[in-house]
């Protein structure tokens, strides 16, 4: 019987196994097919590192990791290289564009450059900045934004979820990006950035930091840097699919290698460095999934100009500095104006598994150059003292680069866009906007071309100011001032370190007339590098101002009980004494006293009570004189009993 049953079950089991296996086998075959196509148009990953010496003895390192996924219909929900978490985000929240940056330190626009592609797209305000463009109807955007902040907050171990409250994000109308209604922008200037944010960011890379260029990211050396900005940029379109750009920009100061021969010159010579000395790590191995793995080294325009003055041209090994491995390729920037020198990029390819690519730069002679600056240097500061009111000032100072621009064309005008978000507890009086040009007050309507103000709403919205200025290029300085009153918050709305003050997010200053695009002599196909292609995009020059720290008045945090009791005492005093005055009838009282003197009047309730109490006590003879006393005693006991009962029932 049992054998028979077994024999009957066996083919069934076999069938089951087959049934399970067929889709798996089919998918395996399909996977192989997909693997074949991956090279051509499937998901791609590339990693690049961009290095540039900075004039103030520092080195800029910019990592650029790019993952792309073709439109999702082709692959379904499965991804080989593209991080699934990000793909899910895009799918769930219908994100068109998203940029999230974690930054520590402030980009020094004066000495690190203000108009090159790195500074205008990768210099970010301190703390967290997030903006997202949704492909959704306007009604659903706010709810989606809230969900998105929570998802990102979980994904990156940061308190991005604080951006969910309507007081901290805003929909800029035109000053941030031109005319979009489904954009949301939020910033948390005080967010501290550390390795806990970097680790989840690295997890999105196919090789993490185990192999490839990402293996350079040694935590102590990159967090020791002067500026650290970790960014995630996501673009998703129907035609090209999803593109995820992860960039990490650090400004590091190489250790000075003491050289006995040049000890007298050591202070003036730029410190020599190599990738391994700067990051305290070597590139270990190749990240196999990466399509390209390259390092670029840039000599910026002013540096090339200075070199050409000395007659060295574009050589990577001259009497001023040496680049240690020879570059594979050299890209030269093409310039619309002929007869001028331009920046040069040397390309290195990380192709060997065993020989780590250790790019190094050795300075031999002192060399001074300056970086390319934005036309106007924007800064922002607070004016006034005390905790009641103050003013915000935004100043734009003309720089060297503007002078060159001015020399080129006469009668030109500069256009400047200013986008400023102010939290609601800084109550800005927008009518007090004053404009000073070269130190002289100017009527606002002469300079302001377009303005949009959305005043803050207490505990609901932040206030925003979007301004478009236009003034002649010959102007040396422009200053804007706005008065504000400081708000007073509820005790719970203060952060734990209330006396430190509150941060106002950085203002964004954009120069729409100036672009930071680079174009190279080589054509795009031969360049074939996502980073350099990105440099060729026509981006406007932007700079962020400093975050402001506004000290606000604090109440006494230890006082809530005292304040409640004091106030209620005053209130009770008022209520009780006024009611007492109204209730009292002096004439009645006098009459009562008189009548009491004549006859002992027994009131009804005490009489009843006394009778009741005497019955309780078993006394039949209650004298009327002691009755009132007994009554009050009894009342007291009754109240006590009631209180005990109440307590008992309530518990």
């Amino acid at each position: 019987m049992a054998v028979l049953r077994h024999s009957a079950a066996f083919p069934f089991l076999l069938l089951l196994v087959l049934l399970i296996c067929i889709p798996a086998l089919a998918s395996g075959v399909g996977l192989n097919d997909g693997g074949g196509g991956l090279e051509e148009e499937g998901e791609q990953f590339s990693e690049e590192l961009f290095l540039k010496p900075l004039p103030d003895r520092k080195v800029l390192a910019h990592f650029h990791f790019q993952s792309t996924a073709p439109p999702s219909a082709a692959n379904g929900r499965h991804h080989h290289l593209f991080p699934k978490a990000i793909a899910q985000l895009v799918r769930k929240f219908r994100i068109k564009d998203l940029e999230l940056s974690f930054t520590q330190g402030r980009w020094n626009y004066e000495s690190w450059g203000g108009s090159d592609p790195i500074s205008s797209t990768n210099a970010k305000p301190p703390g967290v900045e997030l903006w997202a463009l949704f492909d959704l109807p306007v009604m659903e955007i706010d709810a989606t934004w809230k969900d998105l902040t929570h998802a990102l907050s979980g994904l990156f171990c940061a308190s991005i979820n604080f951006l969910e409250s309507s007081t901290s994000y805003f929909a800029p109308s035109w000053a941030f990006r031109s005319n979009v209604s489904n954009l949301r922008y939020g910033a948390l200037p005080r967010e501290a950035v550390c390795t806990e944010n970097l680790t989840p960011w690295l997890k999105l890379l196919p090789c993490r930091d185990k192999a490839g260029l990402a293996s350079l990211l040694d935590r102590p050396s990159i967090y020791k840097g002067y500026y650290h900005s970790q960014r995630l940029q996501l673009t998703s379109t129907k035609s090209t699919g999803m593109v995820l750009k992860q960039t990490l920009t650090v400004v590091l100061k190489p250790d000075v290698q003491r050289n006995s021969a040049h000890s007298s010159l050591d202070n003036s010579i730029q410190p020599s460095w190599s990738v391994s000395s700067m990051f305290k790590k070597n590139v270990t191995g190749l990240c196999v999934p990466a399509k390209t793995s390259r390092i670029f080294f840039e000599l910026e325009t002013n540096m090339v100009v200075e070199l050409e003055k000395l007659g060295y041209g574009d050589s990577w090994s001259n009497s001023i500095f040496d680049l240690s491995p020879n570059p594979v390729r050299v890209f030269k920037e093409s310039n619309p104006l002929p007869g001028r020198s331009n920046s040069i990029i040397y390309e290195y390819i990380n192709y060997s598994e065993h020989e780590p690519l250790d790019l190094g730069m050795k300075w031999k002679l002192p060399f001074i150059w300056s970086c390319s600056q934005s036309p106007f240097h924007a800064s922002r500061f607070l004016m006034g003292s005390g905790n009641e009111r103050g003013s915000i000032a935004i100043s734009l100072q003309s720089t060297e680069s503007n002078k060159e621009f001015l020399a080129k064309s006469h009668g030109c005008t500069v256009q400047v866009l200013i986008f400023q978000v102010v939290p609601w507890y800084v109550k800005v009086y927008y009518h007090t906007l004053q404009v000073f040009i070269d130190g002289k007050p100017q009527s606002a309507s002469d300079v302001i071309e377009k303005i949009q103000v959305s005043p803050s709403e207490d505990k609901l919205f932040p206030g925003t100011l979007e301004l478009m200025l236009r003034y002649p290029c010959s102007v040396q300085s422009v200053a804007l001032t706005l008065d504000f009153d400081k708000g007073f918050l509820h005790i719970d709305e203060y952060p734990p370190d209330a006396n430190q003050g509150f941060d106002i997010p950085s203002a964004l200053v954009t120069f729409p007339n100036f672009h930071s695009s680079r174009s190279y002599v080589e054509d795009n196909l031969s360049i074939n590098s996502p980073l350099l292609l990105k440099f060729q995009e026509k981006n406007v020059v932007r700079s962020y101002t400093e975050a402001l720290l506004v000290p606000l008045t604090t109440p006494d945090f230890s006082m809530p009980y005292n304040v409640i009791t004091f106030t209620c005492t005053v209130l009770a005093l008022y209520f009780g004494s006024l009611l007492n005055v109204l209730r009292r009838r002096v004439g009645e009282e006098e009459r009562l006293l008189n009548s009491k003197g004549n006859t002992t009047r027994i009131r009804l309730i005490p009489l009843l009570l006394s009778k009741f109490s005497s019955k309780l006590k078993g006394r039949t003879d209650g004298t009327p004189k002691s009755s009132s006393l007994l009554g009050s005693k009894f009342l007291f006991i009754l109240v006590v009993v009631l209180a005990v009962l109440w307590h008992y029932i309530a518990n």
Partner: protein
């Protein structure tokens, strides 16, 4: 009986003093930003901002709601009225020059109305004393003219001057309240209704003045309790019956005149006018807010703002600190408690003081200015001025010297504490709150003592009549 000699000189001097301050210290005073003077509801600085925004003075864009931005919480009518004045600038003058000039005029009108009210009160007092055969009492106490006195107290009160100079709109609120009282005292129902409707529209709290206004219209001016007249009448009639002399028959007639029966006609007239003015105000507001927000937003942003104490910036009251510190889950409870405290006292006071409706109005004003969410010294200026109307009745009030010193002390200490806390950072919020607490106590004592001495005065009259 005669008014204070040189009343007009003194009043003119008060006006001249204001103008002098306005012209000589155009920018040095900064009174408009003092927390004692300007509250979120009355500050002109806040008001001005939205004027400019709404009128697109320099913004070439669609006008915004005056309430957007949580800055402005007043009436839209005031905005369109004062807006014209705030924009107009004069060379070498402070920014709100025309506004301040208007406030000087408003102060003067208020003082004149207080004077007229006082004279009416004095007349009625004399009449009732004649009826009660107490004329000797009038002659015995060298009586001051309460109208002149109160009007001068109002004009020369430093608090009033500071409010007037500080470009806060409380002089207008005060004018409306005084107008309502004057209209009720002189039985001009349209004026009383106008004052009451506008005062309520501007600052909500005068809504409780409907009780004294109706009592004034119904029963007439302040008089000793009607029981005394009845007593007198019965005495007189009995004496008439005894004597049968014809010349005594005038006395009961006079007494009948003195005991006013409640005249429903006047009250109905008043209600009708209230309705008319209410429609008028709502219509004007909805016209001025037609494109931006509308009436529901106005109610939410003005009355809602008053009732929920959203703004926690310091003022001379105690509620700002209380609601800055109180736990969030108790907030609604205490909001109800504080506002119901104003309402609780309406009925008991109305029962005990129904024969003294004008005094009742004063008590209501004092209570509401003590418990209101955003008090300022402008409110105190009003009730201190009205208090002087009853200088004869309250002549033997207790603690008057203590109160006087207290008011001076608080008004000197409060700016000092504010400066220590906000500007120097050496004191903390508790210092300033303590002066607010002291001020609330002083106001409590003032209200309680004035009510008790008024009741005592009535008792004294009764004794005299019965004697």
């Amino acid at each position: 009986m005669a008014g204070i000699r040189g009343y007009w000189n003194l009043a003119a001097a008060a006006i001249a003093f204001r103008l002098l301050l306005l012209l000589c210290f155009p920018k040095d005073l900064h009174l408009g930003s003092r927390p004692e003077v300007a509250t979120p509801l009355t500050s002109l600085r806040r008001r001005m901002k939205h004027n400019l925004l709404a009128e697109g003075y320099w913004l070439k864009q669609a006008s915004m709601s005056p309430y957007s931005g949580s800055m402005y919480h007043g009436s839209p009518l005031l905005l369109s009225f004062l807006g014209q004045l705030t924009i107009r600038r004069v060379e070498g003058r402070p920014p709100h020059f025309y506004c301040s000039l208007m406030f000087v005029v408003v102060d003067f009108i208020t003082a004149v109305l207080i004077r007229a009210t006082g004279q009416k009160l004095l007349l009625s007092r004399h009449k009732s004393f004649q009826v009660l055969n107490l004329s000797k009492l009038v002659e015995a106490s060298g009586i001051v003219n309460p109208g002149d006195f109160a009007s001068l107290v109002y004009l020369w009160n430093p608090l009033t001057i500071v409010t007037c100079m500080g470009s806060s709109t409380s002089p207008i609120d005060n004018l409306m309240v005084v107008m309502a009282i004057y209209g009720a005292c002189s039985r001009i129902a349209p004026l009383a209704a106008f004052g009451w409707v506008f005062a309520t529209h501007l600052s909500l709290y005068p809504i409780i003045l409907i009780v004294p206004v109706i009592l004034l219209l119904g029963y007439g001016l302040d008089a000793p309790p009607s029981k005394l007249f009845l007593h007198k009448t019965s005495d007189a009639s009995s004496s008439c019956a005894l004597n049968q002399s014809p010349d005594n028959s005038e006395a009961p007639k006079l007494t009948d005149n003195a005991i006013h029966t409640f005249s429903w006609v006047q009250v109905l007239h008043f209600v009708l006018w209230v309705f008319i003015w209410l429609c008028f105000v709502l219509l004007l507001s909805s016209i001025s807010l037609k494109d931006v927000g509308g009436l529901s937003e106005m109610f939410r942003k003005t009355y809602g703002f008053i009732l929920t104490v959203e703004d926690l910036s310091p003022n001379i009251g105690v509620l700002w600190y209380f609601f800055a510190e109180v736990f969030d889950f108790f907030r609604n409870f205490f909001l109800i408690v504080f506002h119901v405290n104003i309402l609780f006292m309406i009925l008991p006071l109305a029962i005990r003081l129904k024969h003294r409706s004008c005094f009742l109005a004063f008590v209501y004003i004092a209570i509401s200015s003590m418990l209101k969410s955003y008090p300022s010294v402008g409110d105190s200026a009003l009730y201190l001025g009205l208090l002087a109307l009853f200088c004869n009745e309250l002549a033997d009030m207790h603690f008057s010297f203590f109160l006087f010193c207290g008011y001076i002390g608080v008004s000197l200490l409060s700016p000092v504490m504010h400066n220590l806390w906000i500007w120097r950072g050496t004191g903390n919020a508790n210092f300033y709150f303590a002066t607010g607490l002291a001020y609330a106590c002083l106001q409590t004592v003032l209200v309680v003592e004035s009510v008790s001495s008024m009741l005592k005065h009535d008792r004294m009259l009764r004794k005299l009549v019965k004697a």
